[in-house]
């Protein structure tokens, strides 16, 4: 079986006043269909740059990104990016946001689908609310629902829960796992939170400091629901932290 996402030899740099700043330095990996991979790395290591390339928003200087064997030429609804700061449109209601990406559906179907996913993420009763009337956690739910409603094959998540407080972040992770159990997606997650990666991912790539390359790969062999306090999980966490130099 060929990989869902095949990334080969990615390099990316930016021209600055001090000359060329290499940010991504030769990254290659494969993601299987339905797999959940996470990247952890120190802040400022080029994680977001890497994500923008994989999701199709920025072209790499060198290397290729193939999705289902085809070279990527820009973003598409096949893979939706959920970014750290969120991009729920503040001028649309929750329902309008969820219906935004639904093309080619009859209007009544759109509403049904939107309401179904609002319900799925726990936003029932807030369909007609505007984003500024929601709390930070609810805003994340809306963001997630808007991505899920278009039934993307891939979710690209760039620090999706890091703006939330620890408790809320944990709750969102659990709910996200519950949703993934219902509808399987291929997920690429970027985070600086090792515990979050162990909680969610099947495989974890550890990135080096800038310019980023993959330093180590860890499989996460634990069944869901995972107990992060188990000795095995703690051991894995320590190995990853050691790779990160902490």
């Amino acid at each position: 079986m060929s990989a869902k996402i095949a990334v080969k030899g990615l390099k990316k740099g930016f021209i600055t006043d001090q000359g060329l700043l290499q940010v991504v330095n030769g990254i290659s990996f494969d993601v299987a269909d339905g797999e959940f991979v996470a990247f952890v790395g120190p802040s400022g290591c080029g994680k977001t740059t890497l994500m923008n390339i994989i999701a199709g928003f920025d072209p790499p200087d060198e290397g290729t990104v193939k999705v289902d064997g085809a070279s990527r030429s820009g973003p598409s609804a096949k893979g939706i990016l959920i970014s750290q700061h969120g991009s729920v449109f503040p001028w649309l209601t929750v329902q309008q946001n969820l219906m935004f990406g639904l093309n080619g559906h009859a209007p009544s179907n759109k509403e049904q689908l939107a309401d179904h996913y609002a319900d799925l993420v726990g936003l029932k009763g807030f369909e007609m609310s505007y984003p500024h009337e929601l709390s930070g956690g609810m805003l994340k739910r809306a963001e997630l629902a808007r991505a899920l409603v278009v039934k993307p094959e891939i979710l690209y998540m760039d620090e999706p829960f890091s703006a939330l407080d620890a408790l809320l972040s944990l709750r969102m992770r659990k709910e996200f796992l519950r949703i993934l159990a219902e509808e399987r997606h291929t997920v690429v997650l970027i985070t600086h939170d090792v515990e979050e990666a162990i909680h969610l991912a099947d495989r974890i790539f550890v990135l080096s400091a800038r310019p980023a390359h993959i330093k180590a790969t860890f499989a996460v062999p634990f069944e869901h629901p995972r107990r992060l306090s188990s000795p095995e999980a703690q051991g894995l966490k320590e190995s990853i932290l050691r790779e990160l130099g902490v």
């Binding site: 598409s76 001028w91 990406g101």
Partner: protein, 246 residues
Amino acid sequence: MLPSLTVIAVLIAVWWLVVDLTRSAIFPTPWQVVMGTVELIRDGTLWEHIGASLMRVATGFGLAVLFAVPLGLWMGWVKGAFSTLNPIFQILRPISPIAWIPIAILWFGVGNASPIFLIFISSVFPMVVQTTAGVHTIERRYLRAAENFGVSRYTLFRRVIIPAVLPQIIVGMRIGLGVAWLVVVAAEMIALHSGLGYLIIDSRNAGNRYDLVISGMVIIGLIGLSLDGTMRLLEGLKIVRWRYVR
């Protein structure tokens, strides 16, 4: 509210006192201004003047909105349009609308078209500038999200660009209408036979009726205030409220 009413009351009292003490033959007391206003209301000319001024502002301002908003959106979205047209607008913008009066009379004579043209000229530039700036300041994450969902150009404009810029358009309209109201009075003082500007200059010319001059000034101020209040109501619309919270 109470302090500002007190200031107004004190000003009127001082005015009254000074006129009484100096025994001015020409400058009216507040009471004479009130009686002059009653006279204008009784013979019906006040409504004619107000109606004439408002009609000119509505026409010139309306045309300016129809012209400025699409132009501003275009200039904001298309780089070439901005770099081509922006220098001309930056040169034309600081020219006082009053400086256009001789040209307006030359082109349009002394009928209604002249003040309408002047109002158009005065309100169109701030609205173009605000709309263009509005497009330029749309946050990239929203444009990226729209790109990600692969929506049509029509949806992009209707659901993202227009609502994102709307608050700025409303700011531009507030500025534009404020300038338009300043200009209509000035334009009516030069030519024409109706309007609040005409009322002021005619009252002075026809027998030094300074009570009517001041009455006209106060009415201009009050109408200007309520026009601005009306534009402020637009800021309360649900679709733009996101911009003014937080």
